[in-house]
């Protein structure tokens, strides 16, 4: 099933897109595995996720850890640590 992936701030600038629909391949079951798979999609993704440890993720608009399962995900977002306020 296709999921919507969103990118914000410098992750958006580096991937060159704000959002896209993606069919998750078999074997990609967690946020960390999705990052690894995305990095293989092209140099812009490799660059965006080069410092994977600083990138934060949300599933269905809720903060999650890299180990979080993608089961039930309709919308997955990647972004730097937040800097509002």
């Amino acid at each position: 099933m296709p999921v919507k992936i969103l990118y914000f701030a410098w992750v958006r600038e580096k991937t060159g897109k704000a959002e896209e629909m993606v069919d998750l391949p078999a074997g990609v079951a967690t946020v960390a595995e999705l990052i690894t798979w995305l990095k293989g999609r092209g140099p812009e993704y490799a660059e965006a996720f080069a410092r994977a440890h600083v990138i934060r993720a949300a599933i269905n608009q809720t903060h999650v850890q890299p180990t979080a399962s993608l089961a039930g995900a309709r919308e997955i977002a990647f972004f730097p640590p937040v800097t509002g306020g």
Partner: protein
């Protein structure tokens, strides 16, 4: 309890009135206003652009507000956060808390800001002499959040822990 994300400026007096109008159970109102500084790490900035995650921003702010209401006896609260282009001196964020007594209003306002800064999906990009620069998150913001986890919050202490931002 209300949460707003908007481009336009806000009027602090009007927002306080909105919370207190027609009520006689409020004895204390605390407001916090965040303002764009004209310098960052020693160099001047021309302004900044605030990006956010529509939908998640509102739900995170609402859950932070609900958490504050669960910890302190608040009569009312309000969070307004601006997005888009802002210039030095512009308002960024307003937190208003109202309670019967000042302790709860002071503590809840500080709690709301500490949580907002580490959980609400906003990102600042500063416009400086060398072009644009995404602002880095500060460790001190995580430290500010951590104290709400290890210390009992005044004046009513929660029995539960609050989930740490990832």
């Amino acid at each position: 309890m209300s949460v707003r994300v908007q481009h336009e400026d806000f009027d602090i007096g009007a927002e306080v009135k909105r919370l207190t109008a027609g009520r006689t159970d409020i004895g204390a109102v605390v407001t916090f206003t965040g303002v764009v500084r004209g310098e960052s790490d020693g160099s001047g900035i021309a302004g900044m652009t605030l990006e956010h995650y529509p939908g998640m921003t509102e739900s995170e702010l609402a859950s932070v507000e609900a958490e504050a209401a669960a910890r302190w006896p608040l009569q009312a609260s309000s969070i307004i956060h601006r997005v888009g282009r802002l210039a030095p001196g512009d308002n960024i964020v307003l937190v208003v808390t109202a309670s019967a007594h000042r302790q709860a209003a002071f503590a809840a306002a500080e709690f709301l800001m500490d949580y907002l800064k580490t959980r609400a999906p906003f990102w600042k990009k500063e416009a400086g002499p060398d072009g644009g620069r995404w602002v880095d998150a500060r460790e001190s913001d995580d430290d500010a959040l951590a104290r709400w986890e290890r210390s009992a919050s005044m004046p009513t202490s929660p029995s539960h822990r609050v989930k740490r931002a990832p």
